[in-house]
Amino acid sequence: MPRQRAGLPWFIVTNAPAEIDPIIGGEPDGPLGEDQQKVTAGSSNTVAGPSTTQPGADAEFDPASHGDPEGGGLRPLLRLVPWVRPYRGSMIFMVVTALGAMLAQVLVPLVIQRVVDGPIADHHTAGIWPLAGVALALGVAEAVLFFLRRWTMASTSLGIETDLRRDLYDHVQRLPVAFHDRWASGQLLSRMSSDLSTLRRFIGFAFVFLIANTATVIVVAVLLMSVDFWLGLFVAAVMIPMAVATRYFENRYRREARRAQDEVGDLATSVEESALGIRVIKSYGRRPQMLATFTGNATRLRSAELRKVTTLASFFTMLDAYPQIVLAGVTFGGAMGVAHGTLSLGSFVAFVTLYLRLIWPLASLGWLLAVTQEAASATRRIFEILDVEPSVVDPPRPRELPSTAQCAVRFEHVAFSYPGAASPTLADIDLEIRPGETMALVGATGSGKTTITALVPRLYDVTGGRVTIDGVDVRDVRLDDLRTTVAMAFEEATLFSASVRENLTLGRAETSEADIAEAIDIAQAGFVQELPFGLETRIGEQGLSLSGGQRQRLALARAVLGRPRVLVLDDPLSALDVNTESLVEEALRRVLGSTTALLVAHRPSTVLLADRVALLVDGRIADVGTHSELLARSSEYHDLLAQSSHMEVSRG
């Protein structure tokens, strides 16, 4: 927050130019310019874009983000060392140039002192030139050093930030699905964006100036005391509390800003709902209620913002008034000294100017410490993620899967519980899918069908028993091999913001044009050829939007692409209309004929694609048999699948 205020009393500003800019918005980024806001505002946890924030979920996982900024200490920053090490040369360079620029600035008053006491006092105009030359050199040196530091900052702090972001992304990608179940994407996103930006600011700015400003404060204090010891000592003594006060206000402001940010989040939720739920709101005529809710949120936000305003007003008043009060004392003491011969006029002018040079570095120390604390907690939050060990990993001694044309999949006494769940989701599952066979899984909602499918490609690992492919435990196979052998289609067809082709291959290098054409054919996804750019058309969130049925057909095409030996399909036809469904079924039948497949089914027509059916009840296999066998002997099965026609119709 306490960036140098432009309109500050002259004494503060004197020293500002070199340093204020990085705090102000020297580092524009963030989709909403959030950094600028953060920088000027000193805090805020703006997460990018309302669609990704989940304000409600925050507190649950993330004590650090809402905790006291004072807590925790600065230790976590040490963990950054491996990432900083490659840049240590430039880091040192930045500190040195910052220090140099500061000193150049500080020396100018001493030159002025010489000018006043020398040429001016002696009325010797020619004597001004050499001193002016020195002043000029210092002025240019300051600007050049300043430039060098900022130029270096571009490669250094951004380099460290980029490396960390890359490592974070790679790590997150490797973490198992179970981890992602627990962490809302907004949580991870805020670590990847705002926490990393905090670190970048710390590395490029706070760290450098913590050192440079401390050194400057010491140098200036010594110089002041060398000009006039007692006056210098007085100034140093009364100015130290400025740093303490800055830190106090900064922390207070940060807390308030964070609270305001929470209110912004709540307000955004209310806005989001009003926009996304507009049909429901209109449909029920609930505009007045929505406005009332929104007004409530906006009122809370206003009070939070007003608290910030109050703090700022006190803080800025302190920043303005206190140094000027001290200045009145300095002027009085210095002028008296000159009048009574203990101080030269030049020294007095120099003293005043030097004093002005002390204010910003001192006041900023408090702020820099607060930034450092914030960086420490950002680091802690980032390492909360980096410290999670991927639990679904390649085995130490991988086994090869037999390269049979068709393979058998077996579930042997498989049990599975979600972490923290009271009761197991799956218990004692024994199921064999013979080579080339298609097994349908039928069960009520919540009976564990989807969970079973996820165990085959190890999206989750079993918590008991084992899953084997041709007798080899899936955990003994390299993940890459396993997931080449097994392909999946999910109920919720996930599309990525990329071309259709990319969405089908997902980057798998081994696919050919012929494979793609065949997959599109099987999934009846010929519509992609009609898109504006055919297979190159961007789809997904940032591109063309597709209907549910189209998405599902693409997801199916993705799964059958390259004819995997094991196919796991989680209700792949649910969003298709009747006509397309029957076309897809027909084509799918061809693929299933030669592949071992596990197929979650809700409709009789889908079940008919399977050779046998396993009936799942409450996480256990209740029965296995052909469709007609089960219909005949299981009332539960009949209940799940039979849609009876009540119409008395004679079919023509």
Binding site: R166, V271, E305, T484, G543
Partner: protein
């Protein structure tokens, strides 16, 4: 689907992409609609368009009584603050001289004046910051409310055209931009501008030749600023776009993590991310370097001007043509003359983006609701009978002048009160459009839609919504508990009524199994409902609302078979004494209708009871029903 923006420059790369084994670019980008471009192109002072000016005026007008005194406060603060260097100069020139002559009182007096100016300026500053901040927040509050209410009044057609994303960003990030601007202004930038003006005046009064040097420095500063403003708007936009791309890639990976891992997309993702991450780094580095030139540039100009003043002024003091105190004061003023310059550059940037935000907001506020409330509403019979008539209704989403084909060319339909009608037909046949017209989310282009003989355009909003309720496929849930969501249908309903509504549609079993039953928060962990469960809640909500006309648009599409069966049984009783319009893919749902309408291209091609149509045996419905019945067991 017609909204892909096919631009010429993207087609140019088509062949390269096909040839390259690892293509990175896809076509038909939509992520940045033209009017969402952050605007900061011009160097110079931003100007406000008429609409935005009018909006700003209407927002500030209520506060003008406080604003005018505030202007005096801030000027007073500025003057007392700037008195500092002048007083120091006086101490040097007069105070010390008098003291040397044995009279310390001038020094005491001037130092006291300095102290007083510090205190007064502090007090005024505090008053200004508090008052200005309060007014600013009140303005934002009013703007938020006004905008929210207006957006809610706008019709669904607006929302569909404008997209929820943009509505959200108008109400969130655009208003936040104004807030940031306000904070920047509070942050001393108002006084910075005032400073420059005041100091220029003071310098001119103090000494004209020296002032000329200072003012001359404006030339290079202005050039520097022009250069910076022009370059930075480009660079800043690139950084925003780059971080947006990084975020999209990150979020998509997280949301699609199952597919990512199951299909071994990790290496490809890592490559894509490395590139986006690198782009962001590069864009940011460019911005850093821009600052690395601009800010030291300003410092350099300031330093050069200061040295020049020192030389020229020093000469004149040495010659006796100028008092030393004046030179000192001058040097002190110069320092704060140059240092706010770079702040002002930043300030202009933020001023430009906030004027752009204000303009975007003004445009939304100027939208007229296309489905307006009647000024003199006609009352419906009480209770409404639920007779629905469409007379010669024509409707299309895209105006014919823009090449849009009407979705409904000319439709006549009479639904007597109490009848349950099922609409069947391929996607795009116009089923949902009919539903939207009857619930007056849209008005027909020509013809009338009437409820109990009253044109819907003459029915008051409140009365219409009590009479007609539409339940859609998505089953949108608001934050809050399950009970809150059901009570949305009738906010005054008691808890018993809410639970009874859930029980009536068979939703209570799953709701009671949730961690906190009806009080489970639907946005919290453990409360996330499946698509089918959301539909059940939406259904309970509609049941609780108890409308005369109920429209179900694919409202049961995500239910599993046993649940659907329960719902259908419930429907038979629920729909008994009310008019209902059912759109469903599944024929099992259609079966409960009294009457089936088969639509093709906005026309009714078959109309009859389900059994009539099936026994006729020749129509589309009969064919559909036949293939469905075959799949039954």
């Amino acid at each position: 689907m017609a909204d892909a923006t096919a631009t010429a420059d993207t087609t140019a790369t088509a062949n390269d992409d096909l040839a390259a084994p690892v293509a990175y670019e896809w076509k038909g980008k939509l992520e940045q609609a033209p009017d969402d471009e952050p605007v900061t192109p011009s160097a110079g002072l931003p100007t406000l368009r008429r609409e935005a000016r009018a909006l700003l005026g209407s927002l500030l007008r209520p506060h003008r009584r406080q604003l005018i005194p505030l202007i005096f406060v801030v000027i007073g603060q500025n003057v007392t603050m700037l008195a500092g260097p002048w007083l120091v100069g006086l101490v040097i020139d007069n105070g010390i001289k008098d003291a040397l002559a044995g009279d310390d009182s001038t020094i005491v007096l001037l130092s006291s004046a300095l102290l007083l100016s510090a205190l007064v300026s502090g007090v005024l500053n505090r008053i200004f910051l508090l008052r200005a901040g309060r007014i600013g927040q009140q303005v934002l509050f009013d703007l938020r409310r006004q905008l929210f209410d207006h957006v809610q009044k706008l019709s669904v057609s607006f929302h569909e055209r404008f997209t929820s994303g943009r509505v959200i960003s108008r109400l969130t990030s655009d208003v936040d931009t104004l807030n940031e601007m306000l904070q920047a202004a509070m942050d001393g930038l108002i006084t910075a501008v005032l400073n420059i003006i005041t100091i220029t005046v003071v310098l001119l009064v103090l000494d004209l030749p020296l002032a000329a040097i200072a003012v001359a420095a404006f030339g290079p500063l202005w050039l520097l600023y022009r250069w910076f403003a022009r370059r930075s708007s480009v660079v800043f936009r690139r950084t925003r776009e780059a971080i947006a791309a990084v975020i999209v890639q990150f979020v998509e990976t997280l949301n699609g993590i199952r597919a990512v891992q199951a299909f071994r997309r990790e290496p490809r993702n890592a490559a894509l991310f490395a590139r986006l991450n690198g782009d962001y780094r590069k864009a940011n580095a460019d911005a850093f370097r821009l600052h690395a030139i601009f800010i030291p540039g300003v410092t350099l100009v300031g330093n050069l001007a200061t040295v020049t003043v020192l030389v020229v002024g020093g000469m004149r003091v040495a010659d006796g043509g100028l008092e030393l105190g004046v030179l000192t004061a001058f040097l002190l003023y110069l320092n704060q003359f140059f240092s706010p310059m770079q702040d002002i550059a930043m300030f202009l940037n933020s001023l430009q983006s906030s004027t752009a935000a204000l303009e975007k907001i003004a445009l939304v506020l100027n939208e007229e609701p296309s489905v307006p409330e009647p000024t003199e509403p006609v009352a419906l019979p009480q209770p409404p009978r639920g007779t629905v008539d469409l007379d010669a209704v024509e409707f299309g989403y895209v105006a014919e002048s823009e090449g849009g084909r009407p979705v409904l060319p000319e439709l006549d339909l009479h639904v007597p009160g109490g009848q349950t009608v099922a609409l069947v037909g391929a996607t795009g046949a116009g089923k949902t459009t009919i539903a939207k017209l009857i619930s007056r989310l849209y008005d027909p282009r020509s013809g009338t839609v009437r409820l109990d003989g009253v044109d819907l355009r003459q029915v008051s909003e409140a009365e219409l919504r009590r009479a007609v309720v539409m339940v859609t496929q998505d089953g949108f849930l608001f934050s809050g508990s399950v009970a809150d969501n059901i009570a949305f249908g009738r906010p005054e309903a008691t808890r018993e009524e809410v639970e009874a509504a859930a029980a009536a549609v068979g939703a209570d079993t799953f709701i009671r199994a949730l961690p906190e039953g009806f009080d489970t928060d639907v946005r919290k962990r453990g409360g996330r409902l499946s698509a089918g469960q959301r539909q059940l809640v939406a259904f309970s909500r509609a049941f609780l609302a108890d409308p005369a006309v109920l429209i179900l648009d694919e409202a049961t599409s995500s239910l599993d078979v046993p649940t659907e069966r329960t719902v259908q049984q419930a429907l038979r009783t629920v729909l008994q004494d009310r008019t209902a319009l059912i759109i469903a893919h599944r024929l099992s749902t259609v079966e409960i209708a009294d009457r089936v309408l088969v639509l093709a291209d906005g026309r009714i091609i078959e109309d009859g009871t389900p059994s009539e149509l099936v026994s006729a045996g020749t129509g589309q419905f009969a064919a559909l029903h036949g293939s469905w019945a075959d799949s039954l067991v």
